[in-house]
Each structure stands twice: as C-alpha cells, then as structure tokens.
Subunit: 124 residues, 2 copies
C-alpha cells in the first residue's frame, strides 16, 4: 500500500504554495508529515538530501526523539500534507503495523544513504 | 522499559565467546539481535561505529529492508543475544508498539550520528 493512501481523506491537512517553507533546520517540532500531493526539497545546510514526492515521510526524526529539525523543507510545487502529531503517531503505530514498518524502512534507507555518503567522502 | 527485558526469558538465544564474530559486512542476513548480556564492537570498514552493550539492537537494518549487512560485529566479552527473525519481528511490531517505537528511536539516533559525522567530515 502507498503510504499516502492511509491519509488520503485527511480533512485537516497542511497546504503549501510553491516556494513556501514547511520548517527550518533547528526548529522545534513535534509532528511529522506525509506528502500527499506536490513535491518539496529537503536540505541539510546547503546540501539537497531529498526531493520528496507523493508518499514521502517528512520530519519523522523530530517526532520520534523530540529533538530539533535537522533539515529545511521547501515546497517546489503546491503541496498538500497530512500532519501527524505524537498522539496520532502512537495510535498509528498501534493500529497500523504497516505504518510502523514503513517508517522503519524509510529510516533504514536514509541510514544506508548516509553510510554511502560517509564512505564516499572519506575516500575522496 | 529496557529492551533486554522483553527477551530476558528467551530460551533459543545466541551465545558468543569473546572475539567471536556475529556477522560480517556484506553477509546476507534476515534476522536482528538484541544484546542481552556482554558487549560487542560494531565496525563499518575499519571504523568503530558503536560499542554495543546490554539492550543494544544489532543488525536491524538487514531485517527491515532485506539487504546485506553494513557492519561487522565482534564480541568483546562473552555475549548472549536474542535472535529475532522476520516472523517474530512482525509479531513484535504488532503486539508490542513499544518495541516498534524503540527500533525507530535507535534508527533515528544512528541517523543523527551519521548526519553529524557527515557535517564534520565536510568541514574538515
């Protein structure tokens, strides 16, 4: 199942115009987002780490461990996002094991990507 | 709750002598482990990325996305570990939401650690 399917009928989502910022690196945040429509750039410092499209999870790290945002997210097209706060997150993890394993998969992919970047930069 | 508590009464765990290898980088693997007793070094190439102690999750990335091991794990003291295969993992995620959120926390910590390493190495 596509992750956006879980939230397709969300009525209190977030809408962003092209060029609008969802959050900045260093911000305090206690919610994550699922990108339902549109696209957004995820940057750590000046580095583009992800071009997020429909179904992407955004900002899940701050939600999982309550620490500041590690990236800045800017809409590159008009976006619609589902907002998931702590309470909803724990409800989803309990009621929808698919959601929990999907979050783990996304974190694991990012970790592999960072491991590769680290190896590449230490070789260079 | 300490993660090792969930598996304290495991009867079919894995035992390692000091110096013994749990798995090598590049190995195929479809299980993760929870370190119940002892300690182990986790190395990516020549780099020591973690000195694992009781409660540590080991090898969860290969279990989540079925790709080869990214690290080599060697016991630095006699170890006892609980082994969690795909079937048990999905059962745990469904029945023990605490376990699912703990795996996410560990992945998030590792990701933050790698982000920091990447920033440090690009500054150096």
């Amino acid at each position: 199942m596509h992750p956006a399917e879980l939230f397709r009928h969300d009525s209190d989502g977030v809408e962003l115009a092209k060029g609008e910022t969802l959050f900045h690196e260093g911000d305090r945040g206690d919610s994550m987002y699922v990108l339902l429509e549109g696209s957004a750039d995820v940057r750590v410092g000046e580095t583009l780490v992800e071009s997020a499209t429909s179904g992407a999870l955004i900002g899940e790290m701050a939600l999982v461990d309550s620490s500041p945002r590690t990236a800045t997210v800017v809409a590159t097209e008009p976006c619609r996002l589902a907002k998931i706060d702590q309470r909803r997150f724990h409800f989803l993890v309990q009621q929808t094991p698919y959601f929990a394993t999907h979050v783990m998969k996304v974190l694991t992919e990012r970790l592999r990507h960072m491991n590769l970047l680290t190896k590449t930069s230490s070789v260079a």
